[in-house]
């Protein structure tokens, strides 16, 4: 039973990593950028929901919609203002800009909300489930269900709609996609919007699980989701999902059977091993540089 319990906990945190990793992977696929500000978009999403519920007294579902909408607009704005002017610059400029945006958001949040952590209210008040001698909270189940739902919607969007086809085409060959009549600027904007919306969902699930939020909460969560994206093969959408779940399980099982303090070490150890053995990740496409 303990094992099952740890696995379910792993799936909970893993599905949050997966949602966040999707944002890294989709953006990397289309503009070849590791968007280091992505983790901080999660933090912004968390504060949006918190503000709406605790300060303005809005009901949870309105607060959630507000957080998603705000993050979507924020993601698109960051792309327009910070990344789009650099699209033809060397990739390192883009990367440095992403780190800059990340630091900006973190410090802005500390200025506005102070560095003190805040308590996140409970959204779902359902009874927990008894699993042998352990309690399995409703939040855990909800997190897994909601994440799976959004991943299914995203898979449908990417595989079965014209927007998804435009995304895949632009990520493979931007110039040719344009020659197919695709407005690549819109497609990139759309990708940032989807990634940021998923980050907001991840934020709410994360805060529901850990019941607190702080201006730097996105740093570690973002890094782990980044490891998940690399493990799955950055640029690959199914890869991000699988990578997220594997990282979540690794972390949870380490906590359960070895030591809580080792959990982060194992996660980043996985990153090192992946980069040494299979840098393209589990499902990444091989890197053939165009000549």
């Amino acid at each position: 039973m303990t094992f099952l319990y740890q696995v379910i906990n792993g799936l909970q945190v893993g599905s949050i990593y997966a949602l966040v990793a999707l944002g890294y992977s989709m953006v990397y696929g289309i503009v070849n950028l590791i968007n280091f500000a992505h983790g901080d978009i999660i933090m912004v999403g968390a504060y949006c929901a918190w503000l709406a519920m605790m300060k303005w007294g809005a009901p949870p579902w309105i607060s959630i919609l507000f957080a998603i909408a705000f993050c979507t607009v924020l993601g698109m704005t960051i792309e327009k203002v910070a990344y789009k002017p650099l699209r033809k610059s060397p990739r390192i400029s883009l990367l440095i800009t992403a780190i800059g945006v990340s630091l900006f958001l973190e410090n802005l949040a500390q200025l506005v909300f102070t560095a003190n952590p805040q308590r996140f209210p409970t959204i779902v008040t359902l009874p927990s489930i008894q699993l042998g001698s352990r309690q399995l909270s409703a939040t855990t189940i909800m997190t897994i269900v909601v994440s799976v739902f959004f991943m299914v919607v995203l898979s449908f969007l990417v595989n079965k709609t014209k927007m998804g086809k435009a995304m895949r085409a632009a990520s493979e060959d931007e110039a040719t996609a344009q020659l197919m009549g695709i407005n690549v600027n819109h497609t990139i904007s759309f990708t940032f919007a989807i990634g940021s919306a998923l980050a907001a969902v991840g934020a709410i699930l994360y805060c529901s699980a850990y019941t607190q939020l702080s201006p730097l909460m996105g740093v570690m969560l973002g890094l782990k989701a980044f490891v998940a994206a690399v493990l799955g093969g950055i640029g690959s959408i199914p890869g991000a999902m699988i990578g997220g779940l594997v990282i979540g399980l690794a972390e949870s099982l380490t906590k359960g059977y070895i030591s809580s303090q080792l959990a982060d070490g194992v996660v980043f150890g996985i990153l090192i091993v992946v980069l040494l053995i299979k840098p393209t990740g589990l499902m990444g496409r091989s890197m053939n540089e165009k000549v």
């Binding site: 079965k160 014209k162 895949r168 060959d173 110039a175 040719t176 344009q178 197919m180 009549g181 407005n183």
Partner: protein
């Protein structure tokens, strides 16, 4: 009759190099025009200008009377110019069918919300696009490989898929950049039939760049010869074959009797 495509005094410089200058052409509906010339003559540059991949330094391009200057590549494609590439540029990791459907992007008008909620508008448009795409693949005898990854197709089939994909954007003018490159003589002969039937079936104008003289001489009604960024000759295949300037551009000097010209291989 007004031309579908009207190009006047087109020119572009790359730094100090005049890659193309004083390029004029009027293309009428249902015409097949050939663009030939030695390597580096500026043929692909013409295609890049026509599709707004480059913006011209001089001159104008008008499609059905509307200037394309300042338009983006995707807007030019939407208004009716499609192309294929010298080196095949399919979306290799996605399926044959999806390659064609990507090009039909603009024919579909459903919104994100309609797609996520799977409203009838989404189903209808996707189903219609799928049917049209399958019909197009059938023209090229490729309906059997619709679900295969584009990159897994044999070379000849990839070339045909590129043409099918270009046609899916509903072009008025189709630009083919060396469609017969790497094909053997029997494949080339088959391609000639295909190009003719495309023209008749879709009622479009075709401009093609080609080094294979049997193909150019066999299907083009009109040929332009470029050398060092300038048009040095234009006319019917017969006229081009016997034009001493063209012979000189290709062979460096005239034959001793000055009459022989380019042989169709």
């Amino acid at each position: 009759m007004t031309p579908i495509l009207d190009v006047a005094n087109l020119g572009i410089d790359f730094g100090g190099l005049q890659a193309l200058d004083d390029f004029n052409i009027q293309v009428y509906n249902n015409e097949i025009v050939g663009l030939i010339g030695p390597n580096g003559a500026g043929k692909t540059t013409v295609f890049n200008l026509l599709t707004s991949v480059y913006q011209p330094s001089r001159g104008s391009i008008a499609l059905e009377g509307k200037k394309t200057k300042g338009k983006n590549t995707y807007q030019v494609t939407q208004s009716g110019i499609a192309r294929t590439f010298q080196n095949i540029r399919l979306f290799k990791d996605i399926s044959v069918l999806d390659n064609v459907m990507v090009a039909m992007h603009n024919g579909m008008s459903y919104t994100l919300a309609e797609a996520v909620l799977r409203l009838p508008s989404y189903w209808k448009q996707e189903a219609a696009a799928r049917r049209t795409a399958m019909d197009l693949l059938a023209v090229f005898d490729m309906q059997g490989v619709a679900d295969a990854k584009a990159g897994s197709l044999p070379y000849g089939a990839q070339r045909r898929l590129e043409i099918a994909r270009a046609l899916a954007t509903h072009p008025k003018v189709l630009l083919l950049d060396e469609p017969a490159a790497g094909m053997n003589p029997s494949e080339t002969a088959e391609l000639m039939t295909t190009i003719r039937s495309i023209r008749d079936r879709f009622n479009i104008a075709i401009i093609l760049i080609e080094h294979d003289m049997s193909l150019v001489m066999g299907i083009c009604e009109r040929i332009l010869v470029l050398n060092y960024g300038l048009v040095i000759a234009q006319g019917t295949p017969e006229e081009i074959r016997n034009n001493p300037l063209v012979v000189e551009a290709y062979l460096g000097k005239k034959d001793s009797d000055g009459k022989k010209g380019i042989q169709a291989s």
